[in-house]
């Protein structure tokens, strides 16, 4: 995959999510053509909340996965893993590719992600808001048929 196609910024990811009104935290609505693209866009929303992703290079990679009985829990788990990576390895992502699968034995959903990014540097990257947690609160993932997939989730900030 070329560096250009890896980057959210080059794929017009900016319109894939919006902020809904919440009195204190960040309530996000994310759209995607499929569950995979929904998860990629949700990862963008998470990193876009924390750092200006357009300044982030894509030299490094990280592999993550999230599993849940429902797609919503798999998505939350994937985002929580990404936040843990950011918080502990200071790995900021500028792009992601996600594959979604249903696990035959349990019927659970697994989302596997490859993130492209680099280690955060305070002198080079513009920081935004610290995310404390990806909450279960008002967490929804809906398959809207022909209209694609939609998720709502709250980031505790």
């Amino acid at each position: 995959m070329s560096d250009q196609s890896r980057r959210w910024a080059d794929r017009g990811a900016g319109d894939c999510y919006r902020e809904l009104d919440h009195p204190a935290d960040l309530w996000l609505e994310v759209q995607g053509d499929s569950l995979s693209s929904l998860a990629e866009n949700a990862l963008f929303a998470l990193f876009d909340t924390m750092v200006s992703t357009e300044d982030v290079a894509t030299d490094g990679t990280a592999e993550l996965s999230g599993v849940g009985a429902e797609p919503a829990e798999a998505l939350r788990s994937l985002l929580a893993e990404a936040l843990f990576l950011f918080d502990t390895q200071r790995f900021a992502a500028a792009g992601a590719k996600v594959t979604a699968e249903m696990l035959g034995e349990t019927g659970e959903t697994r989302l596997r992600a490859t993130l492209w990014g680099e280690t955060l540097r305070r002198d080079r990257h513009r920081l935004k808001t610290e995310v404390k947690a990806v909450t279960h609160h008002l967490l929804r993932v809906v398959d809207e048929g022909g209209k694609g997939w939609r998720a709502t989730l709250i980031l505790d900030v």
């Binding site: 902020e19 809904l20 009104d21 919440h22 009195p23 204190a24 935290d25 960040l26 924390m50 750092v51 200006s52 929580a80 843990f84 950011f86 918080d87 502990t88 200071r90 955060l120 305070r122 513009r126 920081l127 935004k128 808001t129 610290e130 404390k132 947690a133 909450t135 279960h136 609160h137 709250i154 505790d156 900030v157």
Partner: protein
């Protein structure tokens, strides 16, 4: 008037009650003025007050303070006291930022000592006190044994290393360490997130503020607290950083399963809980204690970093600065306390989520120097207006399990605030009213601008009129760093 079809009775100028109906074990009680109640119409936080009232072992009332808003499970501004023999403990009643709290320091400085130097002081604080997204590195990353020691000792861990004095511990809620903190109840992930964030502020609404005492309402209490008009104070607002967030996340999962196992009927999944004395309840209490202690060590370290920075920036001696801790309060915590209930001493696990302990005169938990006037209650306002020092009362012990509000409370969402700040410079607007602000995050100043918050005077006024926590002193900001 109703919350989601529920009756809301006005009991007084400042107290409202939702009668116990449909599974509620106790009534809901909300401290607010009429304007606040009108503003809450359609907000789900009133429903959350009712949901908390469903939980087993709740004593008296499900309470909400005037800075309440919609939260996760419990409302922010919620107080729930649960009997330790038949009640529950819930991570949703504490929140992600365990022991988020406020520390207030006095100095011997007056405004004239900072004249022409405020910009430099604020810049130095921004560079020397790590803040912002993922801030770390105030001290070397801790080894697992050292971190375990910190989790048990809390603020005393920092004092043992020369970052403060034993007197600081006396002036910290719970002496800066919850008993029963159990490092073995904490996950590896929490250790990993916590190892290099001690002494960091974080971002969002966390701040370090240089202030001036601009009005004293209660000279006797103010003198006991060491607050005098015209004197410079420092306020620190932060919590347990990634360590606490991870403890909450880990135990939400544990409690979700425990609630099913113990057959606890939950009106909202986010209220996942377990009996206080169950293995799961004890494990959460042990881990939450560790996170609370992490936060106290964190604020103790930030106090030390602040002192070093001020000494360097102002070229003065420690004696000339005379930095003293007034008090340190937790406003996201669950603690076991004994309260008088109809003449009987009851052991209760009091959850305060966005609420401050406000113990009245005579309580043994209040430092001896303050025991005659009551505990200092620290209530930060927005960065352009003021913060308050209030005092706990016997009335608070009777009405609210010794609890008060924790801040002004947001009135605009972050998104609305950013929209409203478009085309404006919040930094310049605040400079025009004499407040120097600096932040790490590119959107922080817009999200945290003064008009994003309720009028702190009104919020504090509600608690004062209710007899819970009368004003002692008003602190006006001079310089602010935000994450």
């Amino acid at each position: 008037m109703a919350a989601e079809g529920r009756e809301l009775r006005r009991l007084s100028d400042t107290v409202w009650e939702i009668p116990a109906t449909a599974g509620m074990r106790v009534p809901g009680r909300i401290y607010a003025d009429a304007a606040d109640i009108d503003a809450l119409a359609g907000d789900q936080s009133l429903e959350q007050v009712c949901n908390v009232a469903h939980l087993p072992g709740i004593e008296g009332y499900s309470l909400a303070m005037p800075d309440m808003h919609f939260g996760y499970g419990f409302p922010i501004g919620g107080v729930g006291a649960f009997r330790t023999d038949d009640g529950v403990i819930s991570p949703g009643g504490v929140g992600y930022d365990i022991n988020c709290g406020v520390r207030l320091l006095t100095t011997a400085l007056e405004a004239r000592d900072l004249e022409g130097k405020m910009r430099q002081v604020v810049d130095r604080l921004l560079s020397d006190v790590p803040s912002g997204v993922g801030s770390h590195g105030a001290i070397e990353a801790l080894s697992p044994p050292d971190l375990k020691h910190l989790l048990v000792k809390g603020a005393a861990w920092a004092v043992e290393r020369g970052f403060g004095t034993a007197a600081d511990l006396d002036r910290t809620e719970s002496s800066g360490a919850l008993p029963g903190a159990d490092p073995d109840s904490v996950s590896e992930r929490a250790y990993t997130r916590g190892r290099d964030q001690v002494g960091t502020l974080g971002s969002g609404n966390h701040f370090l503020e240089v202030q001036i005492v601009d009005h004293v309402y209660d000279p006797r209490a103010a003198a006991a607290y060491g607050l005098f008009e015209g004197r410079v104070t420092i306020m620190i607002h932060c919590g347990s950083r990634g360590f606490g967030y991870q403890v909450c996340e880990d135990y939400l999962e544990v409690m979700g399963k425990a609630a099913v196992r113990y057959g606890i009927d939950l009106p909202d999944r986010q209220l996942a809980c377990a009996p206080v004395r169950s293995p799961e309840g004890r494990a959460y209490m042990g881990a939450m204690g560790c996170a609370a202690n992490y936060a106290w060590a964190n604020r103790q370290m930030i106090m030390h970093l602040t002192e070093e920075t001020l000494l360097r920036a102002l070229h003065i001696s420690p004696r000339e600065l005379d930095l003293q801790l007034v008090y340190d309060v937790a406003h996201n915590i669950a603690t076991v306390e004994v309260h008088d209930r109809d003449g009987h001493a009851r052991e209760l696990c009091v959850h305060r989520k966005g609420a401050t302990r406000a113990f009245g005169p005579g309580r043994q938990e209040v430092p001896a120097a303050y025991r005659e006037v009551g505990q200092p209650v620290l209530i930060p306002g927005d960065m352009g207006t003021a913060s308050y020092v209030c005092r706990g009362t016997e009335e608070a012990m009777r009405q609210t399990f010794g609890s008060s509000c924790h801040g002004a409370g947001r009135v605009l969402s972050r998104t609305q605030a950013v929209k409203r700040a478009k085309g404006r410079s919040i930094e310049r607007e605040l400079a025009a009213v004499g407040v120097v602000v600096r932040s790490r995050g590119s959107k922080t100043l817009a999200e945290e601008m003064p008009e994003a918050y309720k009028d702190v005077d009104r919020v504090v006024g509600v608690m004062e009129r209710a007899g819970i926590s009368p004003r002692v002193a008003r602190l006006r900001p001079l310089g602010v760093i935000k994450g």
